[in-house]
Symmetry: C2
Subunit: 362 residues, 2 copies
């Protein structure tokens, strides 16, 4: 019978990743389990929610390697609570024994034959920097909708643009978030469901993210994990059309100061009127104003102002402004092309991130 020794820390980390993907309840109880495949070098933990398959290798000392299936969340919870550094796993009949210090747990194992087959590709089509990719997905994630009727608005588009550059784009129809990042090779354009991107962001740390393209599917492999994602079908909207080209007024100010001020005035903004906050620029000042049932708020900030127009007044949804500013560190640059045209918010000095937002009616 199999016996394995593994550190609590590495096993916990692996189980932690699987726990996020494997559902805690399902009409098919096997789907709440994870499959453990053992080799002499360690344990491969795999699970699926039918949208995402995830597999994670955990180094361990294993005698008489054996595969088995156990309830994912219970197993993870037990390991997390154990005392001591080293965990012993042993297959005893139809049970998995989990031991550490004075603790001795016996978990029922499931039907290994009935567990859905998960397969991960062995070759890679293209390779991206894992940290850059995670940062890019993380920067635009907010703009994808969780509920939109049109599937593409629930996804993040990944474009290979040639010349060593790739781009991720997300939109819910009211705003577009874009991040360009360095990428070698010539990959396919595809749309990743935003919820799957959340898991990808969590799993990608450093090193390489190797992509393998399948039929309506993407497999991502790192040194630690392998993941299959179902892709979204459909045409992503032509977002480049809404990026304003003719900038008439532009202001620069510390991003944090703007976030704090928008947060402040938003308290009084009318929730039933899109959390409307007005931006008034003139004479090196940005004045924010909001008004609701309980009163009025005003905040004035010093800005560096440029462009051909001396003053402009626009209105935005305060929540959207705060989202757009999220990925901006340091100075923020706001580019305005008119009171009723979309505006650009980006980090001053580049960095590849850009938010495009529609204005509310003045």
């Amino acid at each position: 019978m199999m016996r394995a020794h593994v550190t609590k820390k590495t096993l916990s980390e692996g189980l932690g990743l699987l726990e996020r993907v494997v559902p805690s309840r399902s009409s098919n109880p096997l789907l709440t389990s994870l499959k453990v495949e053992a080799s002499e070098a360690g344990l491969t933990l795999s699970g699926t929610n039918l949208e995402i398959d995830l597999s994670c290798f955990v180094p361990a000392e294993v005698q008489d390697p054996q595969s088995f299936v156990v309830p994912a969340h219970l197993f993870a919870q037990i390991v997390r609570n154990l005392g001591g550094e080293l965990v012993e796993l042993e297959i005893v009949g139809s049970e998995l024994a989990v031991r550490a210090g004075g603790s001795d747990f016996k978990l029922q194992t499931g039907d290994l034959e009935a567990y859905p087959p998960l397969s991960f590709p062995a070759h890679a089509d293209v390779s991206l920097d894992a940290a850059e990719l995670a940062r890019a997905f993380g920067s635009v994630r907010y703009a994808a909708s969780n509920e939109a009727f049109q599937a593409v608005f629930r996804g993040i588009k990944l474009e290979h643009r040639g010349g060593g550059s790739a781009r991720v784009v997300a939109s819910d129809g009211y705003r577009v978030a874009i991040r360009d990042f360095p990428a070698d090779g010539d990959g396919r354009n595809l749309i990743v469901p935003a919820r799957s991107a959340d898991e990808l962001i969590r799993v990608l740390k450093d090193g390489e993210a190797r992509f393998t393209y399948g039929e309506g599917m993407l497999s991502v492999t790192t040194d630690r994990v392998r993941m299959n994602l179902k892709l979204l079908d459909g045409d992503f909207p032509d977002y480049e059309r809404v990026i304003p080209k003719d900038i008439k007024l532009q202001v620069t100010l510390p991003g944090t100061a703007l976030k704090e001020a928008v947060n402040r005035v938003a308290v009084l903004a009318d929730k039933n009127a899109n959390n409307r906050v007005e931006f008034l620029v003139s004479e090196g000042k940005l004045r924010l104003a909001a008004e609701g049932d309980y009163g009025r708020a005003q905040d004035t900030l010093d800005v560096t102002q440029g462009g051909s127009e001396p003053a402009m007044s626009l209105a935005f949804n305060a929540r959207h402004v705060l989202d757009a500013l999220g990925p901006i560190e340091g100075e923020a640059e706001l580019l305005f092309s008119g009171s009723t045209s979309p505006a650009i918010f980006r980090a001053s000095g580049g960095g590849g991130y850009m938010a495009v937002m529609v204005t509310l009616r003045v």
Copy 2:
């Protein structure tokens, strides 16, 4: 018109206390407001949820003192988000202006005449140590029920026991939590609703808590706050009857080790069987065991064992055990009088805290 200057920190702290008591929604919108009474020395903020009246003094520099009523949660949120250290308040017509740095808020004030009159007594009947009282209430709070049909099970009894000692007791009918603490004077016995005790715990810091007894009411005054509480009517159960006197077996072990082990085995305990965990004591070992649909758990701990019986087996609700151990720091002492009699959990070496728990059927 009134104008006041106050530091953001003190005003925020005062509003933070009021925010917990004043409801955020009410069929009577005035109840979601707070009343501010100004003197030249500062502002007195008051609010009520009809169970608890709370009043808090905030030092401020005030010109032309004036009283007013404003929405409590909005005011608190605005002040919390302000930049800068100093806040300026000014009454401008029917509005309260709130200013700091570049921010200028105007909040509608409410109808001062219509606000319910709140009165706090000026004299004190008895005085207790605020920190001791808060610690005592905090230690036994868990044993009071939030839903019990019988009102006294939703309360915490405060007893003056003479000889410089007072006691708080809470029970939900299955367990009793008791904490004795030093107290001078000869106060009344009374039952404080557990939810009001929660607020009292939050408000009491150090110094004296001065009690004033009213008709079905208790007023508590500290240097910072004044609070009126409605008391619970009724007879508190005779809990002394259930405290076992004839201890047959007793074990001592580090409280943290026991908490961790109970937490571990509880993962597999059957939720539909009171989270049953068995305690088996013999030969200087405490063995914990739990069993459910997915497997079995066992944990063995070294203990110092005493008493006339060499071994005993009992069963408890794991959640109740964890609650009972909560207030115990350092070594825990478990006193058993039999498999079917209530058990005592207390801090080894005293400290005035004791939990009495019924056992589950073996």
